[in-house]
Point group: C2
């Protein structure tokens, strides 16, 4: 019935330009920048990821308008995105690169209780990203 598939991950952001800068310049991910500004609540930025997945950045108030809801305060406990790499050394290397590029290190890389190794960074809205190695 419903294929097990996600096409777009849209993050609600407070300042679209600031978030585009982060994902383009700190993560180094490819984007055409902000598009759709001709439409009300249309301003959005897309990042084409591997395997047909797209990351979208969309203002929080546009999500609110689209969904007919009010926004509360941003909440860090609702979402954790993970970027897996192939070794603990690669975790350290990537965390270092991201920190140098301006990312906020939320938790330094360290051994994890389940046997992995990883650390957390936060985007400008506090969305959490885990850079992680899973040896299993």
């Amino acid at each position: 019935m419903m294929r097990p598939a996600i096409s777009y991950i849209t993050l609600g952001v407070t300042d679209l330009a600031r978030s585009v800068n982060f994902y383009r310049d700190v993560f180094g991910w490819p984007t055409a920048g902000i598009v759709g500004t001709e439409l009300t609540h249309g301003a959005v930025a897309f990042f084409k990821l591997q395997h047909g997945l797209t990351l979208a950045l969309w203002p929080r108030n546009s999500i609110a308008a689209d969904a007919g809801i009010g926004c509360g305060e941003p909440d860090q406990c609702g979402l954790l995105l993970a970027h897996n790499v192939t070794s603990a050394a690669e975790v350290d290397q990537l965390m270092s690169i991201l920190a140098t590029a301006g990312a906020t290190i939320h938790k330094p890389a360290q051994p994890l209780v389940w046997g992995g190794y990883g650390g957390l960074i936060a985007d400008p809205d506090g969305h959490l990203w885990e850079i992680v190695y899973n040896p299993n």
Copy 2:
């Protein structure tokens, strides 16, 4: 430097069993159910999606413990996940199936300003999912 890739999408949930039931029984997505209960904050459920992506459900207080943060109130403006289908008719059909299976319809399927067609449903924690057709 950083591949444009996301490996895991982890949703913070209030009631893990309730959320597993939703994604397994309403979405119909494959899972081994709750695992990791032998570890503190280890209880988690994984759903293997297409193209190597995994959806994980993890209690909000486990994310808080892992990240060393406090949780505010759940916030619907921070995230919108999209499941694309190949026609407007398929949007209607899938929304109907999901509603019958117990999903909360947050916004009925309708034409969208950018030319698409879609509707919104909410999971038990209010995480928004768009069932959408993009003709472009």
